[in-house]
């Protein structure tokens, strides 16, 4: 039985990895960053951020095909936590549609962005 493209396994939709002292939160291809997955994103990212001082965190949106304003709210919460610990949060891998959501919400100046995961790691380690 094949799954429908609008279905997703929430347990597998988010992956958390590290590169040196940088924590990277990424998503399964085709992820819908909606109310359900946003809760996983927030807890995964905050877990990575609160375990160290000056956390370096990348949220890589590669593979995300959809998000809602709930995701923006979660990212703002994550940013507050990271910046409260004098850390760095970089967003990368945004599709043009998701990019547009950040523009509409006027959140581009609020977050730091990188062109790809490699550039985001460089920014974190600068």
């Amino acid at each position: 039985m094949t799954s429908h493209p609008f279905d997703q396994n929430l347990d597998q939709a988010i992956e958390s990895t590290t590169f040196g002292d940088v924590s990277i939160v990424g998503f399964q291809t085709g992820s819908l960053l909606d109310e359900s997955l946003v809760r996983n994103l927030e807890s995964t990212a905050l877990n990575a951020a609160v375990t160290v001082d000056r956390p370096k965190l990348i949220v890589d949106f590669e593979g995300v095909v959809h998000l809602t304003s709930a995701a923006l709210g979660a990212l703002l919460t994550i940013r507050r936590e990271v910046e409260g610990r004098q850390g760095t949060l970089i967003l990368t891998g945004l599709s043009p549609a998701i990019d547009e959501v950040f523009d509409i919400a006027c959140l581009r100046p609020v977050f730091a962005f990188a062109a790809d995961r490699s550039a985001a790691i460089d920014l974190c380690q600068a």
Binding site: V65, T68, S69, R80, A97
Partner: protein, 135 residues
């Protein structure tokens, strides 16, 4: 028209299935599907969270139709209603830091016409599906 109850994630999933698995989005570009899905989910989230205060037993009604090149999408709740003009601008300096309150902004940006009916309990959204510049 169909009505849905349940937790917010359940209702979002059910309404997404109802609208997007029908033939209404067949053949549309990924950008249009993105816009429709976003508007739908923001409206449903507002109805559930604000209209019903998160009560999973209150029904949220969804209605959609294609009229010519237009998709008309309506989401209704049975709450107290609200004044759309009272919603603070999330793009203001104080609004930028808030974790919520961007749903209506995104709906208005991704849909071509938005009306609030029945004292704010019903939102009607229209999106032209024809490519820009086509006759």
């Amino acid at each position: 028209m169909r009505s849905f109850t349940g937790s917010l994630p359940e209702v979002v999933q059910s309404t997404r299935d109802f609208v997007l698995r029908g033939n209404v989005v067949e053949g549309l570009s990924p950008e249009l599907v993105f816009a429709i899905r976003l508007a739908l989910e923001e409206a449903v989230t507002n109805a559930h969270r604000h209209g019903h205060g998160g009560d999973p037993d209150l029904p949220i009604s969804i209605e959609f139709s294609r009229i010519g090149d237009d998709l008309i999408l309506e989401v209704a709740d049975s709450g107290d209603g609200f004044d759309p003009g009272s919603i603070p601008d999330p793009r203001s300096p104080e609004g930028l830091e808030r974790s919520s309150g961007r749903g209506l902004l995104l709906i208005r940006a991704f849909m071509h016409h938005v009306e609030h009916l029945d004292a704010g309990r019903r939102i009607r959204m229209r999106r032209c599906l024809a490519p820009a510049g086509s006759s």
